[in-house]
Each structure stands twice: as C-alpha cells, then as structure tokens.
C-alpha cells in the first residue's frame, strides 16, 4: 500500500494503462510539453513521446471527433478537457457520434473524456461547472465521478478498458486535498457499481464526487447526536447502480440526495424518481435533495459558499427527516 493524492491516482492510472496497452494515448490542449493545466500528465511527454501525448490545436470538437475516429480503428484515446466546462464545445461529437455509434451501426467507441469539473475554487461560471447534467439524458454514454483517490485510479482504469465512451468527471477541488492508501498492484473499480462509503441505519445519503466528503462531515456531526447515516457513493452516475440504491433505502427508509450540480434536472432528480418508482412502500418520509441553486456558479467567495452545498444543509435535511 502507498498513500497518494486523488490527482496522483489519476496520473498513475493513465501511466499504468499507457505502459500496459500501446493503443492507449492522450490528446488535448497542453497535455504534452506542459503536462496539462493541472499537471496530471506531467512527465508523460518525455516518457511516451509526442504521438502518445498529443498537444492538439484549441479545438475540443475536433480532437474529440478525432478520438472517436481513432477509437473506431482500434485505439483507446483519453481526451482531456482543460476544464470540464469546455466539453460544451465537443457536445455534438459526444452526443451524436460517440454515444450512438454502437447502437446505430454496431461499432464500439472506447474513448475516455477526462473532465476536470466542479467548484469551490473561485473559478466563476466557466471554470467550475458540473457538466454531468449535459449528458444525463443521452443514452449510450457512461459517466463516472470518483470521490476518493482509490476510486479515481480504479475507475479511470476501468474506463480506459471499457468499450464504450466514458466521461470521467474528476473533481478539481479534490486533486490535492485528499489522499488514500492504495494497493501497489493493478486493480480496477468496476463501472456501474456504487459503494457504501459509511454504513448506517437511519438515513441514506446518496451522493458522489466531492460531496461524499461533505456528506461524511455531516454524518460525523449527526453521529454525535445519535443519527446513523449510510452514505452511498454512487461512483458511476450513468447508468446508476439501482440495486445498491434500493438496498440502502430499504434498510433506512429515509433518503437525502446530495450533489454539487444545480438542482433542477440533476442526477438527484433521477435518483429520487427511481426510488419513488421502486421503493415507495419503504419510504418513511419525503426524498430530500440538497443541491446547488439554479444559477451559474458565482465567483465571489461569499456567494460561492451559498452556492456549494454545505454540511449544515445536509444536517438540517437529515434532522428534518428524523422528525418524520
């Protein structure tokens, strides 16, 4: 075992997969000589050369399309968005080409799109967005969003080995803020499987990404007042691990869904709807969503703190449910 950061975990996954499989390569803006805006691919250019760590022109649609084309003829490209926000420029290629290839004409498109996403970094509206909502109604894509260094590595490896287009949401706020013990040997975290971050019995807090840590903070406080929270870390957000969600709800009968995305049309809406459909009889109270308000991400610290869901809000929601 060794201790590494979330960012290092991503770097290791990329490095190991590139060493293992010559069809894996990286492309994007400033990923090569510079090593990436967040330095995730630092040293890769020297190690793998300019054709496997490819600095592209400033053209997200172009390089995402190119990733798709390369994938169709046997490569496993990992495309990096400099910030997840710029994925909007590649939206068409992802939604209409990558997502539909296999269904339409049977061709696998094994690409990974790395999307450094999320706020809490005073980045303002264009460097803080949660982009999973753009793709949440698009059949054919898979979306993962690790909360821990362990999962960051294991999910990225799984994504690279997967034969479908995977959007890999890596939370910028976690890059250097969290560390995990991870095994020396190769491992993957399977796509499509949630994990129980904390076992509990009174309420299920269903979340993913940086909010897993917010939920954990809240759970600690709540534990102090005798409430046992179960935290479900979704890990894969498309498609959802319905079974894990249902199992937890059947146990706790109370649900708080937490995400950093804005509320309307977020992943939480789908989770809530699934629970209503499938576990209605088990529910002992309303399904509460805690999410960012429906605005772009504001820049100033005061406003951003209101924007990003805080442990206090989770605590309040759980307490409300406990009164049910």
């Amino acid at each position: 075992m060794k201790e590494i950061t979330y960012l290092e975990a991503i770097r290791e996954a990329l490095d190991e997969e590139m060493a293992r499989d010559p069809s894996v390569f990286i492309l994007g803006e400033d990923v090569g000589v510079y090593g990436g805006a967040f330095r995730v691919t630092e040293g890769f250019y020297e190690k793998y050369g300019e054709w496997r760590v490819l600095d592209t022109p400033l053209s997200e649609s172009g390089f995402t399309g190119a990733a798709i084309g390369a994938a169709l003829v046997g490569m496993r490209p990992v495309a990096e968005m400099q910030f997840a926000d710029f994925i909007s420029c590649a939206f068409d290629q992802l939604v209409n080409v990558a997502a539909k290839n296999h269904y339409r004409w049977g061709a696998a498109t094994p690409i990974v799109v790395r999307a450094p996403y999320g706020g809490n970094i005073h980045g303002g509206a264009f460097h803080s967005q949660c982009i999973e909502g753009f793709f949440y109604n698009v059949p054919g894509l898979k979306i993962v969003a690790p909360a821990t260094a362990y999962d960051a590595k294991g999910l990225l490896k799984a994504a690279i080995r997967d034969n479908d287009p995977v959007i890999y949401c890596e939370h910028k706020y976690l890059y250097r803020r969290i560390k995990d013990q991870i095994p020396e040997e190769d491992y993957i975290v399977p796509i499509g499987k949630a994990r129980i971050a904390i076992e509990g019995s009174d309420v299920s807090i269903i979340t993913y990404g940086a909010m897993v840590h917010t939920a954990t903070e809240a759970a600690k406080v709540l534990k102090g007042s005798g409430v046992s929270c179960e935290i479900i870390d979704l890990r894969t957000i498309l498609p959802l691990d319905k079974k894990s969600i249902m199992n937890s709800v059947k146990k706790t009968n109370k649900v708080v869904i937490l995400h950093e995305q804005t509320k309307t049309g977020g992943v939480g809406a789908e989770v809530s709807a699934l629970i209503s459909e499938n576990c209605f009889d088990y529910l002992d109270g309303p399904i509460i969503r805690i999410a960012a308000p429906d605005t772009p991400v504001p820049y100033s610290a005061q406003m951003e703190e209101v924007f990003i869901p805080q442990p206090k809000e989770v605590i309040n929601a759980v307490e409300k449910l406990m009164r049910y």
């Binding site: 592209t56 053209s59 649609s61 172009g62 390089f63 798709i68 084309g69 169709l72 004409w105």
Partner: protein, 325 residues
C-alpha cells in the same frame, strides 16, 4: 497515371449501379415503400464512385449521405442496403437506422452521422491512428459544400494539416446545400480555397468525370500514404434531384439543370469508354443487365427479409453492457 481496363469497367459498373440503385430507391419512395426520407446522389455519382474506388482494401472511409458509391464499392451489398431502406432486420444496421445512415466497420466504412462535417474530425482520428501505428493506411472523409461551413470542418482540416495526417478530404460541391446556393454559403469561387487556411494542398476537379476524380484521389492517397500529409479535393458537380425526394427544387434555375444534364457523369464515362475503345456498346449493355439483376435481387431480398423483432430496439446500446445484478 495509367488505369487498367478492368478498373475502368468497374468504375463504369459502379456508376451505373449507384445510379440505378438510387433511381429505384426514388421510385420506391414515391410508391410509399421507404420509411422516412430518401436522398440520392443523382448527377453526382462520380464523386463517391471515384474516390471510393481509389481506396485500398485496408483504408477507411468516413462518408456523408451522398456517398452511395462508397458503400457499394467497399462491399456493403445492394441487398443489405436495400433492406436498410425497408427497415428490415437484414439491413446494414438491422433496422436500427435507415436509408443513407450506413456504416460497417468490417468494410472500413464509418457510419454517417447526420450532422454534416462531423465525419471530418472522425476520419481525421482514424488517420491519426494509422500514423501513430506506422500503418500505411489512409482515411478519406467527405462532405458537401454546405458542410464546409461548419466548425468541425475547420477543426479537422487544421488538425490534419498540423499533424500531417494521412487523410484526404473530399467535398462534393453540388452547388446547393438543400435550397441554399453557394453564394449564400461562401464568398470564395472554389471550395478548394478553404484549404488555403491550412496551407493544405488542394485541387478542384470535374465532379462529373469519374476518371479524373479517381486519379486525383488515388494520387492524394499515395501522397498521404507516404507521409506527405492531407489533401483537399473539391469535386464540382451539380445535384440533379431535389435535396431529398420530397423536394422539387423549384429554387434551382432550370437552365442550370439543363446545362449540367449534358455533363451527366454516366454519359461522360460511356463516351470515354467508347472513344478510347475500352468498351463497346455490348459491354455496357452487359453491365447494365448485371446491374439491373443485382438491384432486382436486392429488392427481392429486402422484400422477403423479416422485419426486426419489436424488442430488438431495446438491445445494443453499449458495447460493454453493465450487468444488472
């Protein structure tokens, strides 16, 4: 460049096959037998036949919707394509997709996504893979004159130029994008001038002369194959049907159509074959018969083929499905 007689006859055969096949589609559409819409390449068949036939077996095509010649040449049979139009299970996509939305990676054909020019970056990616792996393969991508106005056109051209990728970009300049004439689409005289922005070699060829297109494509493929980078080829031609079979194309001046009718690519080729004593009338009639038979068989095959099971549409979303436990 010398072209073998055999190849010339094949070019003629594919021109005919494309024309007759699409003529048949057009009739079937008007008989209400085709689900959805029908688009043909009438008058511009030389483009897809020319650049398609110039490919090697291992190359990759990223076509657009007026590229019936490419589909046929790559080995996606008339039978499968006809069944595709009928929405049958035996169609190229098993009924999932229809008409020109054809792709089969086993035949080196990347599926056409409706969104025009999307296949320019995708084709570029295939070329990138070839270059990375040191393979002597090329990619070709095609779009219409209208398609060259899209951002993806620009991003792909630029990327391919910067990385000197083994790709050839074809533009079927049929002078209209649906109803939009060239003068509302671009300010340049030749679409080929788009390539100046990338310092990319380009060529404007007679889009109704299959031999010229074949030669230009073949040459460009060889340049690309040998590390010389991309080429852009504009084929100037004229769309002789409406945008689709339900469009009467009132907006096209009749004189323009009259003028281009005389330049029909099939008549052109017949003249060429006769004048150069490559084929006699009988040879061509033989080909016509062969084509006729092939299409009849295709239609019979499509007619007789079963429809997909209603639930087939629920399958095949993912290449790596996620087991629900």
């Amino acid at each position: 460049m010398d072209i073998k007689r055999e190849d010339l006859l094949q070019l003629y055969y594919y021109l005919k096959l494309t024309r007759r096949f699409e003529d048949r589609i057009s009739s079937l559409y008007h008989q209400g037998k085709i689900l959805g819409g029908a688009w043909t390449s009438n008058g511009t068949e030389a483009v897809s036949v020319g650049y398609g036939y110039a490919l090697e077996r291992n190359d990759i095509a990223a076509p657009y919707f007026r590229d019936m010649g490419v589909f046929l040449i790559r080995g996606i049979t008339a039978k499968r394509i006809m069944a595709q139009y009928f929405g049958k299970k035996t169609g190229v996509t098993g009924g999932k997709e229809g008409n020109v939305h054809i792709g089969d990676i086993n035949f080196g054909v990347i599926g056409f996504p409706s969104h025009l020019a999307d296949n320019y970056p995708v084709g570029t990616g295939a070329a990138l893979a070839f270059k990375m792996r040191g393979e002597k393969r090329v990619a070709v991508a095609c779009t219409g004159d209208g398609g060259t106005s899209r951002g993806d056109f620009h991003e792909a051209m630029n990327f391919a130029a910067v990385r000197k990728l083994p790709i050839v970009f074809i533009c079927n300049n049929n002078q209209y994008a649906y109803s939009t004439p060239l003068r509302l689409q671009m300010t340049i005289k030749n679409v080929a001038e788009r390539a100046l922005a990338y310092d990319m070699p380009s060529k404007t060829v007679d889009g109704n002369n299959v031999v010229e297109i074949y030669k230009a494509a073949k040459e460009a493929y060889e340049v690309a194959r040998n590390g010389g980078g991309p080429t852009f080829i504009e084929c100037k031609t004229m769309r002789m049907h409406g945008h689709s079979e339900h469009d009467s194309a009132k907006y096209v001046p009749r004189e323009l159509l009259e003028e281009w009718k005389k330049k029909d690519p099939i008549l052109n080729m017949e003249k060429y074959l006769l004048e150069n004593t490559i084929a006699r009338k009988e040879d061509m009639e033989g080909i016509e018969l062969r084509v006729k038979k092939e299409i009849e068989e295709a239609e019979a095959f499509a007619e007789e083929s079963p429809y997909p099971e209603p639930d087939d549409g629920l399958k095949g979303l993912y290449a790596t499905p996620i087991e629900e436990v």
